[in-house]
Amino acid sequence: MSIDLSQFFEVFFEESFEGLDAMEAELLNLVPGEEDLETINTIFRAAHSIKGGSGTFGFTSVADFTHVLETLLDQIREGSRDLTAEHVNLLLKSVDCLRALLRSLQAEQQPDLAEADELRIKFEEILGMRAATKAAASDTDSEEPVTESSRNTFQIDFKPHHHLFKTGNEPLYMISELAELGDLETQAFQDDVPDITDFAPEECFLSWRFFLTTDKEQSCIEEIFEWVEDDADITITLCGGLFGDELEETKVAQAATDTEIKEAETAAKPTAEVKKSAPVKSAAANTESTSIRVGIDKVDSLINMVGELVITQAMLSQLGEQEITEATIASLQEGLAQLAHNTRDLQENVMRIRMLPISFVFSRFPRLVRDISQKLDKQVELKLLGEQTELDKTVMEKISDPMVHLVRNSLDHGLETVEKRVAAGKDPVGTVTLNAFHQGGNIVIEIMDDGQGLNTTKIREKAIKNGLISESDDLSDNEINELIFLPGFSTADQVSDLSGRGVGMDVVRRNIEALSGSVEVSSAPGVGSTFTIRLPLTLAILDGQLVRIAEHTYIIPLISIIESLQIDISKVSRVGKDLDVLRLRDEYIPILRLYTIFNHQGAIETLDKTLLVVVESDNQKVGLLVDDLLSQQQVVIKSLEANYQKVDGVSGATILGDGRVSLIVDISGLIKLSGLKKPGSQELIIESKASLEAS
């Protein structure tokens, strides 16, 4: 019997990474001296599952490493060893190491074992002190503490329950594993095997008695059987260092009926019994977890809604069979309204399935903060608020890196050292708060610190030096703070002597804007800074303004529209060869002719007969010339790239109510395409339009 185990690899990796996350989170909760047994149990169980899984799948490097880790945890759990801060640090490092090992295995690469070996030696040193045997020997056998009388003989009675095969276990593997431990003698009992008429091939009717002479500990034997201990009667008895008459006697004595084995079982010393402990149960619970995790309430409400929908459908089809009269038209309208309502609810709820609580992102920060604060020698308390706020999975995946950047900056540059804080009369422990909440159709994530705040004087100097603003510019503090998001501001080595905020901040902003979000900073000297990220709840749907250009319908994201207006021709002036600019209040808005950029014929070309949609992207306002404004509606974003390719100036496509495809305008792409470019300053510089004319 051989199964292709590789089909289970993904599940194993997924579970293991989850297990590691859990271990990490629990380890961070551990305070040496005040540890909670349940916490240690959780960590142990996670490690144990990873070991079991990696053993099963033949990832011996992982299994071996987890083994030492588990041994230490087991001792702590049993109370035979006290937990120290050194242990926690070592265990945290092991979590990282295991993660790296599993990642490379997942990518089907040869894992780098250097770190694992180094850590393992440390573990073995700790464990070795207790076992008082040779420590830090690097051959693989040394990981098992060797007992004094080196070779023992165990009698192992193994009577699987009939359903054993159905749990996916195969005694043959266990027997060959046993054989690897030492000299193995095996007896199989066939008494239970029924007549051929009653024989069920998928059931296990055999039972075994083994005599194993080995230098290994009993725990090694228990380990082999631990995955089946609920599905079999297992008794392990130490026969002492004998190997001779006595053994022969036992062999003869067991004319081996069921009852005798049962007796042997009861007679066995309690210490020799396989421990029925939590690990196996937790492993079972873990396997139930799959990659899709949706709250049952969400599923329930979906089922409810589908029920409603079916009722509405039945009602409408009934109406359809009737003759159309005034009365039926009224109820038809009512039915359609109900249908619209149902559909909207259904859509909202289906979208909710993709939503996960933001705690998935937040959960990585305790570790990050712990590590950085240790490195910087600062005292930091991390507060997490609004962890249950839900966010689309794709958005979530992409927001975590910018957040890490911001939190790291807060710790590094925002928070002062303990001495400085004390000198400033502040609590020596700094606070970093992550807060998430919903506001309108957006999610807002705040990263707050109670540090020194941004140093506006230095930022201003830096910006002048880098030519982002001129000496004469009179900027408010807020405007100065905003400068840190400009591209010209960063590059690490230049800034590190400054307050430091601004390292790669332009990248942070760009990443957030790529998610159709925005980031702002507010700061008060000596009090702290707050970064506010605003994101749409989902990337799959947007509110769109339908516009017409010649016979083509395009969609402009409503979020980027500032206003739509009819052009007052007297306020339009021409810059350069062919760029028109509209003076709107005290700003000059460049007019982009969409029909030229998109190369469409038949659009209205005279400015006073068309409409201008003023949009903003990346702090740049432009006016888009359109023939007509149509309706506004929510649209589901579809990828153009899936079957075609990236189209400049277009961010995606959608399907309108009548089944036609309509393209969604990508404002920042459009600005790029039009040849308008904005360097660091607010000033608009018109670059060559050659590229536009070429197209």
Binding site: H552, I597, F598, N599, H600, K638, S639, L640, A642, N643, Y644, Q645, V647, D648, G649, V650, A653, I655, G659, R660, V661, S662, L663, S695
Partner: protein, 161 residues
Amino acid sequence: MITPQDDLHNKLTLEQDQDVKQFLTFIMADEEYGVDILTVQEIRSWEEITVIPNAPDFVKGVINLRGTIVPIIDLRRRFAIPAIEYGPLTVVIVLKVKLESTSKIMGIVVDAVSDVYSIAEHEAKAVPHLSDSEHAQFVAGLVNVGEKMVALLDLEKTMDI
């Protein structure tokens, strides 16, 4: 009289283990072209299409295929054959094309659909090197079906835009 189909049918039964494949053929400018029938998703009539700005001229635009956005290529333009007006016979053959590591769903506009033949691939002959027509590069091989010649399309090349 033996029709090409019969002929092929005989061959098919005789050479079942051979590399016989079914090909859907279509007509373009009086020439017959074939594509592996397993790549064909469906055949549709010409319908209104959404133009993609600044696309190459042989890309007519995109259509909505039950929620999937599918680009449509005018094969005449791709092959630099003079265009004709679309008529009631004009069809869109929707194909699933393997391009490098991904597979894409794309449609081609052709004059008319012709037939389905079983053709042993090894019978395909290479396109003569000196072929002067522009579209020879998109043809993977030529086969004879009875009296007729069918050009088997190199889809990967045709759809690589």
